[in-house]
Subunit: 331 residues, 2 copies
């Protein structure tokens, strides 16, 4: 029977190619998120882990290790580490942003309480460090603990830059690197390191992860003003209501007239307006949503150029397709 | 000129004996809590670090390493690690407990916001892992990352046990080990490990740290009902109002008549009574505050018995005095 099923997406093809590894990662995550003493921990974690998500970060670690010819199984531990760090930051982010929805479901802070989200996040951070210690690779530990610091620093920076109209593109990029690209980069780099890849391949994969992460986040920020809210499982205009200064807004502020500047001040600094339609109209009039999309494409190109420095392989091609897919969300 | 100055306390004598090391720890903490990108981080951290505290945990690490004959300087990194982990948990605890005061000053969550406390805590956790990775000792990494997991697990357990009158002494002890003893133990054990001490000395110091931590926490829980609020820089009756089931209450519940049980249920489970005087009178009538004090003394004895397995030295004697001092707060 003929069907018009859509072809599998790049991350789905990666998941298929790495199916055995991913099963091992899932099993490890289940084992390590358990806590005999505090059943609240697996409850909260399972709520998030069970909600799926594309598991792009562990896929990156596994793919990086395998395409560097790795034959061991420490990459499974690293992939689980990366997913634990990601889950921990999601739990804390939802507390910080006072979010009510994540991946199309109520957030843990809403279902349980902020306390549980903070402490279970801490537990997952600690468990992630235990896991990476088990690999016995000091270089990997250095990469991942550094990424954890960059993530937290980026989140603090985002917090203090929010509602501040003077936020520069440089600060924006630093926030993006912290909140998203640091872990993408560490996921790729640590996979290459555990595979004992040549230094130039490690550097190429680190650069790929960074650029992929930046492009991913820029698209996310674009979608918050331009995309369909349902498609990404979060509300349209979240950033706007939280007073976050993202790229389309920063560019529009540079060209704002007096009336527009007053609007942005009322909306972002003072939280006195939630007129998202007006915001979108202003962004459209200055063409900054389109500029933002183009910026994401430029980072996609950098990601693919880094990959081109690696030997050809199916996994490499899937990663290149993944970079395309990330920006295709913004069509 | 004669003065009636009180003799220095054991932790003050330790700080004097280890003055050079402690200066190095303070300098390292200042350097590593900095963040060029996010000035909020050193602001929040300095508020807590500047409030002093006795710095017992880093002193334990330094003393353990030195009394095992250590001549290097990795123990300084470990001591700073331990203090960072402690500071991070304080930041998160104050969010979880919604505390307004810590060390006699307004808490960070009150001065800034919960968001800053959560994220700066995350940053300090990450920085602590970076610091311990620099020691290059996988065994130390295993000890400290395990302690971090036990701490978070204990905090979650405390959260879920709060307002539950069925909480057992076994659960209470697990919470105490998590919230306090795990880090005391790891502080001592990692100091001995970095000094390459013989296994039996490492074990003795780990046991000392655990017992010291348990006795310290039991005294804290005693003080919450029996001590002078000002002396410990927190309000009397905090645990009572937060519905925490601590040892004096768990024991009193075992012997409660119908009226008392109703009182505890109203006060702890339902938060409908804040009659601390009544609570103290009930505890006194069953003698459970005195029993709690005696339990703390028993843990003090265990701590000192563990120390006795180490060769005699001035530092060892100061640690034994410290164990006495911890319980003397409950006089």
């Amino acid at each position: 029977m003929l069907t018009d099923a859509t072809p599998p997406k790049p991350h789905e093809r990666l998941a298929t190619a790495l199916a055995g590894d991913m099963e091992a990662v899932s099993a490890l995550i289940s084992t390590r998120m358990a806590s005999e003493n505090a059943p609240r921990i697996p409850e909260v974690t399972a709520h998030l882990v069970g909600a799926g998500g594309k598991r792009i970060r562990p896929l990156l670690t596994l793919a990086a290790a395998r395409l560097c010819g790795y034959g061991g199984d420490d990459h499974v531990k690293l992939a689980a580490t990366v997913e634990f760090i990601h889950t921990a930051t999601l739990l804390h982010d939802d507390v910080v942003d006072e979010s009510a929805q994540r991946r199309g479901r109520p957030t843990a802070n809403l279902l349980w309480d902020n306390q549980s989200s903070v402490l279970v996040g801490d537990y997952l951070f600690a468990r992630s460090f235990q896991l990476m210690v088990e690999t016995g690779s000091l270089r990997v530990l250095d990469i991942l603990s550094g990424a954890a610091a960059t993530i937290a620093e980026g989140e603090v920076l985002q917090l203090t830059a929010a509602r501040n109209l003077a936020t520069t593109e440089e600060t924006y990029l630093r926030v993006v690197r912290g909140k998203t690209a640091a872990l993408f980069q560490a996921a790729c780099e640590s996979g290459a390191v555990v595979a004992c890849a040549p230094e130039e391949h490690i550097a190429a994969l680190a650069e790929f992860g960074d650029a992929l992460g930046v492009s991913f986040q820029i698209v996310d920020d674009w979608l918050d003003y331009g995309g369909a809210g349902e498609a990404i499982g979060k509300d349209l205009g979240d950033d706007f209501r939280e007073g976050k200064l993202t790229l389309p807004v920063i560019r529009a502020l540079m060209r704002a007239d007096e009336a527009e500047r007053t609007f942005w001040r009322d909306a972002l600094e003072r939280g006195k307006s939630d007129d998202l339609d007006r915001a979108r109209a202003i962004l459209a009039s200055h063409g900054t949503l389109e500029e933002t999309r183009i910026e994401a494409l430029a980072w996609r190109d950098r990601a693919q150029a880094a990959l081109a420095r690696l030997p050809q392989s199916d996994l490499r091609d899937m990663l290149a397709d993944l970079a395309d897919y990330v920006v295709e969300r913004a069509n």
